[in-house]
Symmetry: none
Subunit: 174 residues, 2 copies
């Protein structure tokens, strides 16, 4: 058992013989690899990101695995893009890294990035609204923003604002 060379760190050594054969395979691999690349790219993102955050925090893989409550081999596989973690695992890793889970979700493609930010985000996750109401609210919000884009800077709006304020509140209370 002890005499059997385990491939734990044998990877750089075995890479040399692979390169000799690899030149023939490489031609075929390029065709297949291109299709796969697009898929793997997103997965690599989250793994690289996690490793980056871990290294920035100067935490070993085992330490993070422990504090996150996931197995260290699995975390290693996730970081190297060999596995695709579920949202639950991402949540745990985020907890271990002391970062927001949302940041990991975005990179994993689970969540869309929200350029609009807080208002949209708050409305979409509000449990007291139904779906139609959310859509209506966000439509109103967006139309207001468009209105402000046309009106220009806030200085110009204040005049129109005063006139509007006289009319709209009454209308609302009817």
């Amino acid at each position: 058992m002890a005499t059997e060379p385990r491939r734990g760190r044998g990877e750089p050594q075995s890479a040399e013989p692979t390169e000799r054969v690899g030149q023939a395979v490489e031609h075929v691999g390029q065709v297949v690899g291109q299709a796969q690349q697009a898929v793997e790219h997103a997965v690599e993102d989250i793994g690289s990101y996690i490793r980056g955050q871990r290294e920035a925090a100067q935490v070993s893989l085992r330490q993070l695995a422990r504090s996150a409550g996931v197995s260290n081999p699995y975390l290693s596989q996730v970081e190297r893009g060999l596995r695709k973690p579920s949202a639950e695992i991402l949540q745990q890793i985020a907890k271990g890294l002391q970062i927001s889970a949302e940041a990991l979700y975005v990179r994993a493609g689970i969540l869309e990035e929200r350029p609009a930010g807080k208002v949209t985000d708050a409305v979409l996750t509000d449990p007291t609204l139904n779906e139609r109401q959310k859509r209506v609210l966000l439509d109103v919000y967006e139309s207001f923003r468009r209105e402000n884009d046309l009106a220009g800077p806030a200085g110009t709006v204040s005049a129109a604002d005063t006139a509007g304020a006289a009319g709209t509140p009454n209308e609302t209370r009817k």
Copy 2:
């Protein structure tokens, strides 16, 4: 094969023999069941919610499965709480239902729900809105929430939802 009674609708019948044996098992089951209940409760939420939304949209399970791009047996299992869907599947179901994925994530426990005040805060601090617009938005938001309080739980909302949608957009566009 054709003579073999399939348990497609045999479930209510097989429930009777289970009750005879169930009395002895039930005592042990209570101890175990309590711990499990908290876990299953969250899972039931997402399934019931999806079914609720589907029924509100008056769409059959198969139709939703097709438009969501998931298998209909699996969607059935998800709705009945027998399976726990991944974020990717939830995303697809949300697309099929034409609702936000965030709403499903929140109910599945993937995303944290925002406290009610968060929408109010977000609107008030939004730099792209003027004061009049903020007030209007918050008025609409509050009226939606009052509407939902009167209507009761989300399952009942569909009737009130239809009526609300007819009234509110017109009012906004004046």
